[in-house]
Symmetry: C2
Amino acid sequence: MKKLTDFKTPIFLDYASTTPTDPLVLKSMQPILENYYANTMSIHNLGQEAKDILERAREGFAKLLKVNSGEIVFTSCASESNNFVIKGIAYAYKNQGKHIIVSSIEHPCILQSAKWLESKGYKVDYLSVDENGIINLEELKNLINDETVLVSIMHVNNEVGVIEPIEKVGEIIKNIKADRLNRKVQTPLLFHSDASQSFGRVNLNVNKVGCDLLTLSSHKIYGPKGAGLVYIKKGVKIAPLIHGGGQEFGFRSGTINTPAIFGFWKAAELAIKRQKQDFDRALKLKTKLIKTIQSKIKNFRLNGDINSQVPQIISLRFDFIEGESLVYLLDMNNICVSSASACASLSLSPSHVLMAMGLKHEQAHGTIRVSIGRFTKKEEIEYFLKVIPDIIEKLRNISPFK
Amino acid sequence: MKKLTDFKTPIFLDYASTTPTDPLVLKSMQPILENYYANTMSIHNLGQEAKDILERAREGFAKLLKVNSGEIVFTSCASESNNFVIKGIAYAYKNQGKHIIVSSIEHPCILQSAKWLESKGYKVDYLSVDENGIINLEELKNLINDETVLVSIMHVNNEVGVIEPIEKVGEIIKNIKADRLNRKVQTPLLFHSDASQSFGRVNLNVNKVGCDLLTLSSHKIYGPKGAGLVYIKKGVKIAPLIHGGGQEFGFRSGTINTPAIFGFWKAAELAIKRQKQDFDRALKLKTKLIKTIQSKIKNFRLNGDINSQVPQIISLRFDFIEGESLVYLLDMNNICVSSASACASLSLSPSHVLMAMGLKHEQAHGTIRVSIGRFTKKEEIEYFLKVIPDIIEKLRNISPFK
């Protein structure tokens, strides 16, 4: 094992918040950054060359997702994609129904978009989850009514790594669609899934899931920041979030970020190619990590059920501890983890995900997220496991909770 | 002069549609792309290092614009910025007034956002321009009423390069604000300017203009694609376009694209540093270009008044010609120009800018935009001037219009 002093460079165990761009991806982007700068909307040679890159990326994603290339719309990030979907569907079908359902553990960009719609007169229901973070399918069935136009359930949660049963959701929605058709109810029922945290980690079969819309993010899969996409099934109406020059079939205006989109595509290909290998390595590291902590530290729990989680996201709960303090002390030992999701980490309120899973305030506050990735070395996990018991003991000694 | 055959690489005369990233900027971004990948919202070391880069860029822009760093909000592009401003101001002040005014020659992202608001019950007025593309200030005064919450006038137009008198607009708005205050009218009147095409080309003094909001774009100033910003004066309320994790003071959620924002800042510094030099070179090239065409080609006009334009954007009108065909033939000679703006170039309708300037359909259709930039060589303009007379003659010979 490496010595403590070997880790002067911080150990990054925060892959769920963002990933470094894979060097292979970065290298592939260089010629695009340098030469394919023209505007994809320009009809001249250089413009059309840039457009070719864009369309190759679009076709590449269509192939990876087994959908049509005309169903892929690029955006600047997953937050934009999710805002676009939630608001865009609500606006487009407002005359047919103003009810949407999202899970209570969605990313803030979904939840805040839903809150925005509530302030505009829409009705939103927030689907509950069990102690493992898994959505309640019976409740979903009961919540859907003839005013419901959209159900949005994430594939993998960013804080605890739980894999949601989106194929079962797809099945439920398919049946209700059939029933509406029978009853001649005109309101469409659409199913969206935010797959930002699942793509490249677990299998994702759009056709099997039967979703109408799907979100992916580049910087979560070792691609560059600045690119995301939405799969929009042919025939689905959606209002643009960003109006203007009419790029992306009129669904997302703004000059195309060709280098980022190209890198996103290359990252996606690599993620699929490496999925099994990355998964297996992560699972080994996660298993070792949990077993070791269990053997060394008392009053510890893994949040959620390991069997329904991706191995890359590990939510660790220590009683009598303030997770924030733990993050700081680990940071002083050159280890980067998160207290919750990065987006929520500056807020003082407890994680909405952990609260939805039924944790008490102090349990949610006693949680850290360790997320491992493609470049995580065994030695880094060993170092983490070496330093954490002392830190926990130190924090518990000064804890007012114990 | 170089021979024809020397230009096998296309000559890019379409800098108004987008610019290549300056090699100096690209080089400065490399370490950020490789090492500063962490999420700026993460509280650990690597996250805070990324946040430092972000805040340095923010302070850099504040210094360049002589505003406070807390007044700079980064976005993914100018289209997003402009959608955010137009819709966000309208939504934020909807209870105080539902009237906005934009010029009729704004970029489509402003015009389409305004149309979107019209569909939501807002009233929009489209300010007319004279034959040179300059807005009518008297009309502006008359259009503003106590319901008006926003006036949006671009600084430099993307199609003809006309510089709008935004300082005079600022003066008018300042007086009306004072009058409203006197009359105890609560409705605020805000002034936005899209300066995407002016920054680094002509002087821009936010305080002298007195605007409340301003848009800048990275890829128009030799920065990378994927970054834009909005200056939002302290105290101005605005609804986010993209809700979520609360980045950018809650005004723009989504994981921060640190490398692009850093590059944007470096590009902005360079643009200001090189402004005079780039301007003088462009003016020389533009003067030569126009004089030469005037001497060689009949029935030619520069659209607008050269004295109220930036030298980098040149709108050339040839009678009895289809601009689109001219773009294609120039492209076959390895010269990249645009028929109108890139965003409108795939549409068959005539340029809304040229029509607003009072051109006839066939005059608008007979126009091409030549936009020159930092890397335009004298030889490239000479080559353009050498090939264009024959092309015009060829097209006129087959023209049904003549």
